[in-house]
Amino acid sequence: MQDKWLILTLVGEDRPGIVANVTRVLFGAGAQLGEASMMRLGNQFAIMMMVRGAGSPEDVIGLLESVRVEFHLKLHVDETDAALHQVIEPDVLVTVHGADRAGIVAEVTAALAEAGLNILDLRSDVGGTDTAPIYIMQIEGEARQGIEAIEQAVAGLGLQELSVRVTPLDTVRG
C-alpha cells in the first residue's frame, strides 16, 4: 500500500528558485507530486502541494530544512486522506468587484453558502492604490441548489456599491 498523501504548505518572500529547489529535493528523495497550487500573494510566494513517497511529515520537513533556511520559508506538512481523480467541475462563476472595504468576502460567501454554493476555486486581488483600493474576486463553484438559487442570493444582497455577476458555466466534452 502506498503512503498517504501529505499536504505541504510553504510560504516565503517571492524570489526565483523556490519551486525548483523544493521540488529538486523532493524528487531526489523519491517523492511523487500530486495536484498543486502555487501563486504570489502580496509579495510572498505560497505553495500548496500534494506529496507522497518521501516518508512521514517529519521526514519531509527534515529533507527540506536546508531549502527552508536558504529561502526563509515557513513550512507546514500534514498527513491527509487526500486523493487524486476527485475533480468536480464548476457550473457557475461569480465575479465581484468594487471599492475595497472590510466584510465583502464574508457577506458575499455567506449568501452563496446559504444558496448551496460549494466553492471550488476562489481568487481575489486588491488593485487600485493604497488610498483607493479596488477589490476583485472570482469564485468558481458548484451550485448544489441550482444557478437560480445563486442568482436570487446575489440579487438579495442589496449591495449597491458592489458589482456582482453570476455566469452559468457548461463544459464542452468532446
Binding site: V87, R123, D170, V172, R173, G174
Partner: protein
C-alpha cells in the same frame, strides 16, 4: 450497437491529422452509427471525432442538444469533411475531452463560426453556429487536425466572457 474503445492521451493517433472521406458506403454508415453510440455512452459528451476511436478520417459528431442548459443548436449533427470557413468574436470557455479523462481547462474559441461539411450521405451542407455549439464544432474539427484542447489551454484564471453584456 456496441460502443467503440476510446483512445486516451498521449496516444499518437490523437496527434495525427485525418484524411478526407471520399466514399459514402455502407461501411461508413455502420461506423457512423457506432460513433454516435460511443458519443452517447461517453459521460456528458456533446461530441466525438473519429480519431478518438482510432479511425483517422474526417468524421465527427456535434450534439449541442446534450448541453446541461438548453442552447441554440442544429440538433444531432454528423459532419463529414467539416471545414470552418469563417470565425467571429472570441470567448473563454471550459472544455474536457473523452480522450483526456478527469481534467477540464479553459480554452479560447471563436464565438460564431460558419462551417461547411457533408452529411452522412455526402450531401453538402453549411451551418452558422454560435456559442456552445460553435465551441463543440471547433473542438471536434481540431481533433481531425490532430489538435487537442490541451494544446490551446489558457490561464486557469482567465475570466469567462459573458454572452450578452448586462
Amino acid at each position: 450497437m456496441a460502443s467503440l474503445e476510446i483512445l486516451t492521451y498521449p496516444d499518437e493517433r490523437l496527434k495525427t491529422g485525418c484524411e478526407p472521406v471520399e466514399t459514402f458506403n455502407p461501411e461508413l454508415q455502420s461506423f457512423i452509427d457506432h460513433l454516435i453510440e460511443t458519443c452517447s455512452g461517453g459521460p456528458g459528451a456533446v461530441g466525438i471525432a473519429a480519431p478518438q476511436v482510432g479511425v483517422l478520417q474526417r468524421i465527427c459528431i456535434v450534439d449541442a442538444t446534450r448541453a446541461r442548459r438548453p442552447v441554440d443548436n442544429h440538433g444531432h449533427l454528423v459532419l463529414i469533411n467539416p471545414e470552418i470557413t469563417a470565425w467571429d468574436g472570441f470567448a473563454v470557455g471550459r472544455e474536457g475531452c473523452l480522450s483526456v479523462p478527469d481534467y477540464t481547462g479553459k480554452v479560447i474559441r471563436a464565438e460564431k463560426i460558419e462551417l461547411k461539411a457533408q452529411d452522412r450521405n455526402g450531401k453538402p451542407c453549411t451551418f452558422t453556429m454560435s456559442g456552445f455549439e460553435a465551441r463543440i464544432a471547433q473542438h471536434e474539427v481540431d481533433h481531425l487536425d490532430g489538435i487537442l484542447f490541451l494544446d490551446r489551454l489558457v490561464s486557469r484564471h482567465a475570466d469567462l466572457k459573458r454572452r450578452t453584456p448586462t
